[in-house]
């Protein structure tokens, strides 16, 4: 797994601090060129992973990268699926079963339709989940996707309902069909690790809010620090700036200083900020690795 992952919240009007900022970003990035310029900046500063949702506009980014293989040599995507808004809106509009039916892949392939219809009728979780994953993965065809994440709303919903076998269904399908490592995004790290243990998903990649404020860290800061230090899993830190509440250097020293944290995901709208953030992480890592433990 790469050390620095570039996230996509800023492109799609997600800002946990301010609705006004979210809207300003949404306006600015309604132009695809603005998104691609920032992505180019991230790539040119040495970042090689784009960790992104699976919403429609990401497909345009994928198309652009596919069309310019030389420009983006070595660029990897870490998809985070599903894009929950799409499903939640469909459930509100069509009801649960009709929404599921809507998202079962359609087309002329008789086998797929059969699998979808039969899975739906038999309540075959494995069959349905595999088709939904395949549907979400279509936009990444031909691109490198070595890690595939389950989005936190879905991870945490499955966790809350106690349907833990679904985690191993996701992990198995991602491993066998896409030869990728499964990852899980969560706001409830301690509970999720217990659930993954229970269904035998060993040494999982888990992306969670990790910041010195304790923001969106259910179970508490101390529990997180203990778990990150001791439990067998591969932590990816997100929300490291506590949504902008922590100064950059301070925030990054806290996460990059924790030896077990393998990767840090962050988003930024300006190329200058991307460069600065990467330089700080590189700097902390250099110092940390130079000093023998």
């Amino acid at each position: 797994m790469e050390r620095i992952l570039f996230g996509d919240n800023q492109f799609f009007g997600v800002n946990h601090m301010s609705e006004e900022k979210a809207r300003a970003q949404s306006v600015r990035f309604s132009d695809m060129k603005a998104i691609l310029d920032v992505l180019d900046g991230a790539y040119d500063s040495g970042i090689r992973v784009f960790m992104c949702t699976t919403q429609d506009r990401v497909e345009e980014i994928c198309d652009h990268v596919r069309s310019n293989p030389a420009r983006y040599a070595g660029l990897q995507f870490y998809p985070c699926m599903p894009y929950a808004h799409k499903y939640a809106n469909a459930v509100t509009e069509h009801g649960l079963v009709n929404a599921m039916r809507k998202f079962m892949p359609s087309g002329n392939i008789v086998g797929t339709l059969m699998k979808g219809g039969l899975s739906l009728a038999r309540k075959d979780m494995k069959g349905m989940a595999e088709l939904l994953i395949d549907g979400e993965m279509k936009m990444f065809r031909g691109l490198e996707t070595p890690v595939i994440f389950l989005q936190n709303v879905v991870t945490d919903l499955i966790l809350g309902l106690g349907m833990h076998e679904a985690f191993s269904v996701f992990a198995d399908h991602v491993r066998t069909k896409y030869k990728a490592e499964p990852g899980f995004i969560t706001m409830n790290l301690p509970r999720l690790l217990d659930a993954l243990d229970e269904v035998g998903v060993d040494n999982p990649i888990v992306c969670a809010s990790i910041n010195k404020l304790g923001f969106r860290m259910c179970g508490g800061l101390e529990a997180y620090e203990r778990i990150v230090g001791k439990r067998r899993f591969r932590p990816v830190a997100m929300s490291v700036f506590g949504s902008g509440a922590i100064a950059a250097r301070d925030a990054l020293e806290y996460v990059a200083g924790q030896e077990k944290i393998e990767a840090i995901v962050f988003g930024a709208s300006s190329i200058e900020n991307i460069r600065k953030t990467k330089a700080i992480i590189d700097d902390i890592d250099r110092v940390r690795l130079a000093v023998p433990a």
């Binding site: 946990h16 739906l120 409830n188 259910c218």
Partner: protein, 378 residues
């Protein structure tokens, strides 16, 4: 351990189920939904005991409380039966479609000393609670106007297949979206005495309004405005904002941020200074034990579980406060209907496209409208 049952496995019901099931002091033992497809799925993949009829569930299960997340029209009968059986109730908003029913149920719950709460989650959003604190401190001086807004992209096409698009079931922007804005007004400054100039506008829907605009009048001369529109896709998800003006300044809050402007500095304990004070959700929000989709959804259920445990019928979002909200919504329906403000051109756009077509394919056991009948049958 508080023993919980849940009625209604739609989007809100499933969300409540996951949150309640994770609560350290609660145990969800049974769930109920009339859709055989949904209930079979739950039976197959989870540990909950399942029912197709809430009356059987209330009969067979030894429950301390139920969570009701069914179409609004069915709330009255389900809540009534639960209270009769000495079971506390968390009910999704809006409470009842008739304010008189809401008031009656509020009286029953209070008389029996049962915990009673309605899912107006905005009362658990940290920035709105901070707005309440500032208003109650008197820092804004004499209040003279409040504006509450709710926007989002729920209905963007004429076709509607679920109860939310059906007036008789309690669908529509007024009960779904504007109710949050009205409840927020009531929470912050108390309920208005009258409403005027209410417009219930159709944009896409055939049977319900998609936008609500109304003027509120309070006994002390204060005024207010409600603006709600569930056909505005420019918002990524539901957006709510409230502003309150007083003689000494104003406060504006949305889910993320609260901005206060003060003319003459109030006492230091208010934490406000002359000019602008900005605070945001990161610093104001308290930790929750489990996060699914916003701290407020966890916080409101945690609060309910505590009230059930203590058998405390007092509540931040009680049946009584929800009945007040229903009363204002009722006034808006009466005023809006009287104003006959439905723009005819838009109505025909909706009607023509939707007509009375049956809901799509209903195989696999899901019966959207049959399910509704089931909830509401006497």
């Amino acid at each position: 351990m508080v023993r919980l049952g849940l009625v209604g496995l739609g989007k809100m019901g499933i969300s409540h189920l996951a949150i309640a099931n994770s609560h350290p002091d609660a145990e969800v033992t049974a769930v109920c939904d009339p859709s055989t497809y949904v209930i079979d799925g739950i039976r197959k993949f989870t540990k909950f005991r399942t029912y197709g009829d809430y009356r059987v569930m209330l009969q067979d299960e030894n429950l301390d409380a139920i969570i009701v997340a069914t179409p609004s029209r069915s709330h009255r009968d389900i809540v009534q039966l639960a209270l009769d059986r000495d079971v506390s109730v968390f009910c999704e908003k809006p409470f009842c479609l008739e304010a008189a029913e809401s008031e009656r149920l509020a009286e029953v719950a209070a008389a029996r000393g049962l915990a009673n709460q309605v899912g107006y989650h905005a009362r658990f959003i940290a920035t709105f609670r901070e707005a309440k604190r500032i208003i109650d401190s008197g820092a804004l001086g004499a209040l003279h106007h409040i504006k509450a807004e709710a926007y989002g992209g729920v209905v963007l096409r004429p076709a509607r297949g679920t109860w939310r698009g059906t007036r008789a079931e309690g669908g529509g922007c007024l009960y779904d979206y504007a109710s949050h804005a009205v409840d927020l007004v009531n929470y912050l400054v108390g309920a208005p005495e009258k409403v005027a100039g209410t417009a219930l506008n159709r944009i896409f829907s055939a049977d319900v309004e998609d936008a609500v605009f109304s003027t509120l009048m309070f006994g002390n001369g204060m005024t207010g405005q409600i603006e709600a529109n569930w056909s505005d896709e420019s918002y990524r998800k539901m957006f709510m904002r409230v502003s309150v003006w007083g003689t000494n300044g104003r406060v504006t809050a949305d889910r993320q941020e609260i901005q206060t402007f003060i003319r003459t500095p109030p006492p230091a304990h208010t934490g406000l200074k002359k000019g602008w004070t900005l605070r945001n959700t990161t610093e104001l929000t308290e930790d929750v034990w489990y996060y699914l989709r916003g701290e407020e959804y966890s916080a409101q259920l945690d609060y309910f579980v505590q009230r059930v445990r203590d058998r405390d019928s007092r509540n931040i979002s009680s049946f009584e406060s929800a009945a007040e909200t229903d009363r204002v919504l009722g006034m808006m329906v009466a005023d809006g209907t009287q104003n006959a403000s439905l723009p005819k051109g838009n109505v025909s756009l909706g009607s023509k496209a939707l007509g009375n077509k049956p809901l799509g394919n209903r195989s696999l056991g899901e019966r959207p409208s049959a399910g509704l009948l089931h909830w509401s049958r006497q």
